[in-house]
């Protein structure tokens, strides 16, 4: 029920636009100072992976208001698909030192994994969620849990319950020196690739027709349906993209850690979900920020010897944070409570 004209000044608007980048910059500077360069890079790398997974959570939530508990497991399956493609199809055994070959291998790996995972995500949506589009809100939540059980246990059946090694294509010895510290190129590669994907996603959402359809659908499904948006198709695409990103996260996870296991999805899923909420669920930029923030908290806890409290710290922060900012970092603020 907005009535009168907007009276905010240009200065205020300018402050509004630079406040977020400024505070992110300040936070990063602070974190760098407190943690030191090594731990800072660790946190950024971990955050990049969390962010990629969190994006899928937040996109799905934004569009169908479903807490997709299976998403963490989609990420886990992604890491196995990446492992399988890399070691069985491409025949990799260890790192590749030939730069052009490495580039091609990594690109092929990304493309194939993202493709497979996107299809899997769409399949899950089609089978387990779409039939429940008009069902009570919690019904798809339970099928999501069911899907999570199925994915976990199928992977366990095929690949065993143990830790499985994944070829680390980017040699971990490659590194650059930054102010006396050795920063592996691998970490930079992980950060860079996820940043590229996130930027691409933002561009896709804001610039393309499909992206706009996604946004309008998440705002008001019925209205956008009236405006000619194909809802089923839009939701399907959301799952394609979200699961594809989870697949990319799986690739990155494998390249960075060199291993995976069937139960990976649960914890990472929980963290990514937390990140999505922290960022303001439904907001893609917020999810990415949330992912980095959680990574910084975790790495910080571990760096100072409080690793066993890491989970509790993350969740306590979340609770306190939400109490003071109930819609998350970048969540929309609705003036009307109605």
């Amino acid at each position: 029920m907005a009535t009168a004209s907007v009276t905010s000044s240009t200065a205020g608007r300018l402050l509004g636009t630079v406040r977020l980048p400024l505070s992110i910059f300040a936070f990063l500077a602070l974190a760098l100072g407190v943690l030191g360069i090594d731990q800072f890079v660790n946190a950024m790398t971990l955050g990049a992976i969390y962010a990629l997974v969190a994006l899928g959570y937040t996109m799905v939530y934004g569009i169908i208001e479903l807490i997709n508990f299976a998403h963490g497991d989609v990420f886990m399956v992604g890491s196995f698909v990446a492992m399988f493609i890399s070691s069985s199809l491409l025949g990799n055994e260890g790192s590749i030192t030939n730069v052009p070959l490495l580039g091609v291998s990594v690109l092929v790996l990304f493309a194939l994994t993202i493709g497979v995972m996107a299809l899997l995500g769409a399949l899950i949506e089609r089978l387990a969620y779409r039939p429940l589009r008009r069902a009570p809100k919690l019904a798809p939540l339970i099928t999501a849990i069911g899907v999570s059980f199925i994915l976990q246990n199928l992977i366990q059946f095929f690949f065993g319950p143990t830790i499985v090694t994944v070829p680390q294509l980017v040699p971990i010895e490659w590194s650059i020196q930054i102010s006396g510290s050795r920063v592996p190129l691998l970490n930079l590669f992980v950060i860079a690739s996820s940043v590229i994907l996130m930027v691409a996603l933002q561009l896709f959402i804001s610039r393309t027709r499909t992206g706009r359809a996604m946004r309008t659908t998440s705002m008001d499904r019925d209205a956008s349906s009236l405006m000619g948006v194909n809802i089923n198709r839009t939701i399907m695409i959301t799952f394609l993209i979200g699961s594809g990103l989870a697949g990319a996260a799986g690739v990155v996870h494998g390249l960075y850690y060199g291993n995976t296991n069937y139960s990976l999805g649960f914890q990472s899923g929980l963290k990514a979900f937390t990140a999505a909420v922290l960022g303001g669920i439904g907001n893609t930029a917020g999810a990415a920020l949330g992912g980095f923030l959680i990574a910084f908290v975790e790495v910080g806890a571990s760096a100072f010897g409080y690793g066993r409290w890491g989970g509790a710290v993350v969740f306590s922060l979340l609770v306190i944070f939400l109490v003071f900012r109930p819609t998350g970092l970048l969540g929309s603020h609705t003036g009307d409570r109605a």
Binding site: L138, F149, R308, P326
Partner: protein, 372 residues
């Protein structure tokens, strides 16, 4: 409840009418009859081949504990419409409360019976403690906060080893007894069965009465439309807190019973998976329908913990060839997952959807008792 029970009880219309008027008594009788029938059922094939009657009775006890949790969570989710993903935390707090005051760990040995109430009070306190600052959050933000709380509690119990003996948990918890008459033991599941069944009936009656009360109506109202509820004079924060406190105190009470039953509490017993399986039971059973969620939880527990675990035995007993070679334990969670998905697709409202109850409490009773 709907179709099956309607079909079953059609010939018993007068009986049904009687129990509708005397619901509490009806619940007692129904639960009592069931609790006698179930152990008898385990004497006949194929159930007798799976495990001994004592083991079955123990399983029924655990299933009833699980069903009580589902009924409690249903108050929060089904009645008030608040998504709580950390329900196991209150269960844990109840269990640890009893472990603190009745085990060699602290050296204190308080009697069991008053601690049932204390467990409820502790649950309620933590329910309020968690609820008060967070209840103004919108639906799914509340979900994540409760999920967080559900993680914080076991992590704290695990790492505050000075107070909780950490991961080892607190063992040797006192078993209940009725002095001079009955000492509960671990190998005789019957007394505990009786206790749990009685508590089950009591909690079910309490929940039904609350649901039909002025408080229950406020829950209905805030679930349907918070703003309208506020404009009808309902203090939504208090109503939500009440729902949270009731749910949490039931979990607390059940936690005490559970601790006394297994005589050990460890942080691992109360992880996220517990919250999730209780939630699944509530949704599968049919949110908002107390009997439905209780039945749902009971059946799901038996399915997950007996049927799936004992598939090997069952197959052996039936002498189904080749299957003897397959280790079903490996597939149990795939099966469980498939069942969850299929059931939800088939009955999105739950197996026993909440039917809108007609209001039937007042005129008859009042007329009879002559209120004015």
């Amino acid at each position: 409840m709907s179709r099956i029970s309607t079909a079953l009880s059609a010939p018993f219309a007068p009986v049904r009418a009687y129990f509708r008027k005397h619901r509490s008594f009806g619940i007692f009788v129904g639960v009592a009859l069931l609790s006698i029938a179930l152990p008898l059922l385990t004497r006949v094939p194929p159930f007798d081949g799976i495990q001994s009657t004592n083991a079955w009775v123990n399983a029924f006890t655990t299933a009833a504990i699980y069903a009580m949790l589902a009924m409690g969570l249903n108050v929060v989710i089904g009645f008030a419409g608040l998504l709580d993903l950390g329900y196991a935390a209150f269960f844990a707090l109840g269990g640890y409360t009893y472990a603190f005051v009745a085990s060699p760990f602290t050296g204190v040995h308080l009697p069991f019976w008053p601690m049932l109430l204390a467990g409820g009070v502790v649950g309620a306190i933590f329910g309020v403690l968690l609820g008060a600052p967070t209840l103004r959050l919108r639906g799914d933000y509340l979900a994540i906060v409760t999920l967080g709380f559900g993680e914080i509690v076991p992590i704290t119990l695990m790492n505050a080893d000075k107070f909780t003996d950490g991961v080892n948990g607190i063992g040797g918890i006192d078993k209940p007894s009725i002095p001079g008459i009955l000492q509960f033991t671990l190998t005789n599941p019957w007394p505990m069965y009786g206790l749990v069944i009685a508590l089950f009936a009591l909690i079910m009656i309490m929940i039904y009465r609350l649901q039909d009360s002025r408080i229950g109506r406020t829950w209905d109202a805030i679930r349907e439309d918070e703003l309208a509820a506020e404009s009808s004079g309902v203090n939504i924060v208090i109503a939500k807190l009440q729902a949270f406190a009731v749910g949490a105190s039931i979990a607390g009470i059940v936690g005490v019973v559970n601790a006394a039953k297994i005589t050990i509490v460890t942080p691992d017993q109360f992880r996220f998976a517990v919250s999730i399986s209780v939630l699944a039971a509530v949704v599968l059973g049919g949110m908002g329908n107390t009997i439905g969620v209780a039945t749902g939880a009971f059946v799901i527990y038996l399915f997950q913990s007996i049927l799936l675990k004992q598939l090997n035995t069952l197959v052996e007993n039936f002498n189904i060839p080749v299957l003897n070679q397959i280790d079903f334990l490996e597939f149990q969670y795939v099966l469980y997952g498939i069942v969850l998905v299929l059931m939800m697709l088939k009955r999105p409202q739950g197996i026993f959807p909440a039917r809108r109850r007609m209001r039937e409490f007042a005129p008859l009773k009042i007329g009879k008792r002559g209120a004015k």
